[in-house]
């Protein structure tokens, strides 16, 4: 029969070893509660063994068997816990590393979003300026359209005036035929005056009065011829002016055609300018939306960064809780 004191000694040794292992495991950061919870059970077991030893030897065998089984179970639990904790530590380390990368990406994204927002803001400002310039251009093109229309109207009026002037000059040229008739009459009058003067000269002193009349008639004929000559000169100048007027008429017609084309092109430019202004306004609105989206993206990136930081802190906390010296 095994003495009781030996049984007690064995139990004490086993409990001591188990406690030591538990302490070592605790130092390694493993689960403490398991051993802490095992200590009352072992104490209860010692009481039971002590009570059994005082009554029956089979109790001692039961106690030894229980102690051995408890030790084996405790070792298995400790081993499994150790294995699980190692895996958790690995995952937590991966998580911390991932959060670091995620944090860097979030920061980069936030920075990119901020730069994008700044760029978009500049583009929006430029588009605003372009929009203002487009409005000014539209207004100017409309003024050009009005001016071109006025020029076309004035050109048409000028052309009409030129045509009327040319018609008047044609009538003046027709008057040249009448001038030829007047010149012929003046020639005949001159000839009659000459012949009258000859007859007066033949009449001697009796014809001297008639000679004076003939001389005056001849002077009138000469004055008529001189007037005809001056009128012919005026008509000749009018003919030259008519040629210039005809050239001017052709020139004004070409000018009028060019003004018509310019007016049409000005209208097209004005229409295109209006469409351009509308397009720029749409671009401006779109850029504002993009700018707002960039700001939202930056805000979201900031939130992601904060969330990642919190996740990183959580991972580090878990690492510390598990007693690991894992660093991010």
């Amino acid at each position: 029969m095994i003495p009781f004191w030996f049984v007690c000694l064995v139990v004490i040794v086993v409990v001591t070893i188990a406690t030591t292992v538990a302490y070592l495991v605790y130092r390694k950061g493993l689960v403490l509660n398991i051993y802490l919870s095992a200590l009352p059970a072992m104490g209860l077991l010692v009481v039971i063994v002590w009570w059994s030893a005082s009554n029956n030897d089979s109790i001692i065998r039961f106690a030894v068997t229980s102690v051995i089984n408890t030790a084996i179970a405790t070792g298995s639990i400790i081993f499994l816990n150790r294995l699980v904790i190692r895996q958790v530590q690995t995952h937590v380390q991966n998580l911390v590393a991932s959060t670091a990368q995620l944090s860097a990406l979030a920061q980069q994204s936030a920075s990119t979003a901020a730069e994008q927002a700044a760029t978009v803001s500049q583009v929006t400002s430029t588009v605003d300026e372009i929009n203002q310039m487009s409005k000014v251009s539209t207004s100017s093109s409309q003024e050009v359209v009005q001016s071109a229309g006025t020029a076309v109207d004035q050109s048409a009026e000028g052309l009409e005036t030129i045509i009327n002037t040319r018609k008047i000059m044609d009538q003046i040229a027709e008057a040249g035929e009448i001038i030829d008739l007047v010149n012929e009459l003046a020639e005949q009058s001159n000839l009659l005056a000459v012949n009258a003067g000859i007859e007066a000269a033949k009449a001697g002193d009796f014809g001297r009065g008639f000679a004076v009349v003939a001389s005056e008639v001849r002077n009138l004929a000469e004055q008529s011829k001189e007037a005809v000559r001056q009128i012919r000169e005026s008509i000749r100048r009018t003919e030259e002016g008519k040629r210039s007027i005809v050239d001017l008429e052709h020139l004004v017609k070409r000018l009028s055609d060019v003004l018509d084309e310019n007016s049409e092109k000005a209208r097209q430019i004005s229409s295109a300018s209006v469409q351009q202004s509308a397009g720029i306004k749409q671009i401006n609105d779109a850029m504002k939306n993009v700018e707002q989206g960039g700001r939202d993206t930056a805000s979201v990136a900031k939130q992601i960064e904060e969330s990642v930081a919190a996740l990183k802190d959580l991972g580090q906390s878990m690492t510390r809780m598990m007693g690991s010296k894992v660093t991010a």
Binding site: Q188, L191, N195, G197, I198, A201, R208, G209, V212
Partner: protein, 178 residues
Amino acid sequence: MTLTILDQRALSVSKPRYQKKADVAMRSLVFELNSQRLAVPVEQVDQVIHEPLVTPLPGTPDFMPGVLNKKGEILCVVNISPWMGAPPSEEVAYVAVVTYKGRKLALAVDRPVEFRDLSAEELREIQTDDDASTAPLFLNVTTDLVAIIDLPTLFQYADIRKANITHRGVRTTMEEIS
């Protein structure tokens, strides 16, 4: 004194404008031919005709572009341009019908210019060589270079019967032909 002036003025005003000046030697008709001014005594001019219908005749001398019919009277048209050293113009603008001793001829001119009273003071004789075989056509010339045609000489030169003509390729006169 005052009355004398007024009398003189009254006489001057009442004086006929056509009163012949005492120093007028000749009243002439001045006309233009080849840019030269010529004159004939107006008493010897019968009529001036504008653009007469001149009928050319074959075998006539150069100075005679043809004949014209003046109220049934056939007149020789004489152009003195060849005697002035200029070619005769083909068209006759005016003719002055001149008379001398009952004979008439139509003197071709470019245009009549004026009637002019020529004084003896402004008439200059034309100097000719003593050896000249023919008499000069121009009798006098005025100080402003109006040449006075000597009508007897003109009629002598323009006598077609004595003028040199070409008949059957032979240089002859109408008198010799007849």
